[in-house]
Amino acid sequence: MKYLNFINEQIRSTIEKNDNLVLFGQNISAGSCLGGLTKNLKVNENSKIINSTNSENSLCGFGFGMMMNNVSSVFFMKQLDFLLLGIDHLVNTYNIIRSVKKDLKSSFTIMPIIVDNGFQGPQSSFNNFGDICSIARIQGYVISTKFEAKEIISKKLFSPGFRIIGLSQRLFKEEIMDLEPVYSNDNLSLIQYKQGKDVTIVCFNFSLKHGLELSEECEKEEISSSLFNVTSVTPISWDKILLDAKKTNNLVIIDDSKSENLSCDNLASYIAQNDVINTTIVKKVIDENWLGANSDQMEIDMANIIKKIRN
């Protein structure tokens, strides 16, 4: 099944199990329904679907206001760039709520599509999900696999409190990765899909596909790999990864976001402080044409990484 269809299915099935909801966003039940993401949404009688005004700032406040007043909502957003208009609420409104409302019974989730396929030009290409989340230590999830889609959407979409769940536009038309996890932490922020003994591969943002390809290339070279996906950018315990990397003594970190302060830097600095491990960091090359209408795909030199692992 395609990534887009599977996520739509998970959203619809989670919504059907909940009452007193407000689902809102621009054209979420009109036209293409955000490219199909919000197609065929159905809510119970006491819930509401709103094709909202183009008022991103107030729409963010809207979600927080409902959450404070015991109604859960989801703000579906066509592209992450629009969320820049709501940053005041992500920081200031959210700070008030979490400092004084300790007994929240409702939720507010923003689900933006991260336009990471490129060719958009200088605008509409804000592929910096980690930056948005770190601005106020917001719980932010990215979804890459079937397991993540099922677990994160069913357990987090209406869990009391606030979070952002980011989706990759680049993956929309691709088959969704179907991997069985060997480990998942309680908060679903760290998922391990493979256990190996020669190299530890850790993926950030939407780079799991690259990590999986690297793992498969390694297997051809008889190098066995552990494969982790970090789905959340809020501080998480790196101990599980450190333990694995100490055994393999080889760590490859991959992050395909465009941020100057990558989420993976946190892990890299933690590893550097704790042990000397042969570490390779794979990230996007940001050249002088980065503002142009270019592909947003990350290029990976598999052969060179494998060579480093062997050394």
Partner: protein, 307 residues
């Protein structure tokens, strides 16, 4: 004047005297936090408090002191919050600009200009989803209507048919600039008409008149499922004269925040200005009330609370 009117007038004096006491504490340097006092805002704050019923919600700004005092009718919980004591209204954790009192309907206050509009739309929407027939009241100043969120949120309130009173306190000032010094005039009546939102103007600081009008508007808003925009003229009192080397002849400073040397409790006079811009002057002028005696009783009550 009837008995409940007397209580309204006492409520006005409570808000004034509580602020006078806070100002005196402030002058003595007892607060680490910034406080935006609302001398001159007593009539509208008491009127708003008086029309609130059961589950009505009130969304405030950083200048929320008068409203919170009008709701709670005590000084100690507010003062303790300002002193960051755990017995404070919000456990001494959030200071003055975001002061809340959820039990009395004050569920959100924001120190960010225009931030509370969008939140208020959400609060009002939740009331609709939960099938409650009450109202959400939103306060903001004339500075906040310069923010885009004002336009966005009024449009949302109207489009979503949400019962709400949007009250704009027009005190002519945003920090140190008058409206005329920073922007073209905004005709709120025409602005609201463009969205088919009813507009109403309040002025004169008569709390009884304000209550009657706001009650009517509350009922209309609930019945018609619509926002109503209310512009109220207020004067934030407490201006003072700054004399220093740069201003040897004295410079008039408009009150924005902090302690005001322009208002002194030891004067024994609860009226700050003998003009209609002062709600306490207005209630004395329009009603048979012994401001001095009633005020001194309130002062004693609050001082006992503070011991």
């Amino acid at each position: 004047m009837n008995i409940s009117d007397n209580d309204v007038l006492e409520n006005i004096l409570e808000v004034r005297i509580a602020q006078l006491l806070i100002n005196e504490e402030y002058k003595e340097g007892k607060f680490k936090i910034p406080i935006h006092l609302g001398f001159g805002h007593e009539s509208i704050s008491v009127a708003v408090s008086r029309i609130m019923q059961n589950d009505d919600k009130l969304i405030l700004t950083h200048r929320n002191a008068a409203y919170n005092l009008a709701r709670v009718r005590k000084l100690k919980p507010v003062l303790n919050e300002y002193l960051l004591k755990s017995e404070g209204m919000n456990g001494g954790k959030i200071g003055s600009m975001n002061l809340l009192n959820s039990e009395l309907g004050v569920i959100y206050s924001s120190s960010i200009l225009g931030n509370n509009f969008g939140v208020a739309v959400g609060v009002a929407m939740a009331e609709r989803i939960l099938d409650k027939s009450n109202i959400t009241i939103i306060l903001a100043g004339d500075g906040a209507i310069e923010e885009g969120s004002f336009h966005e949120s009024l449009l949302m309130l109207k489009s979503l048919e949400l019962s709400s009173l949007v009250i704009i306190e027009n005190n002519e000032w945003s920090m140190s600039t008058r409206i005329s010094e920073r922007r073209h005039n905004i005709d709120l009546e025409k602005f609201s008409a463009s969205m088919d939102v009813k507009y109403c103007k309040l002025s004169g600081n008569d709390p009884i008149e304000y209550i009657e009008k706001l009650k009517e508007l509350r009922t209309e808003s609930i019945e018609k499922k619509t926002p109503i925009l209310i512009e109220v003229n207020v004067s934030t009192l407490g201006e003072w004269i700054l004399k220093n080397d740069e201003n040897p002849n004295g410079k008039q400073i408009n009150y924005h925040a902090g302690p005001t040397p322009g208002v002194n409790l030891e004067d024994g006079n609860f009226i700050i200005k003998n003009e209609n811009i002062d709600p306490v002057y207005v209630i004395k002028k329009n009603n048979d009330i012994d401001i001095q005696n009633v005020g001194e009783a309130i002062l004693r009550k609050f001082r006992d609370e503070m011991v």
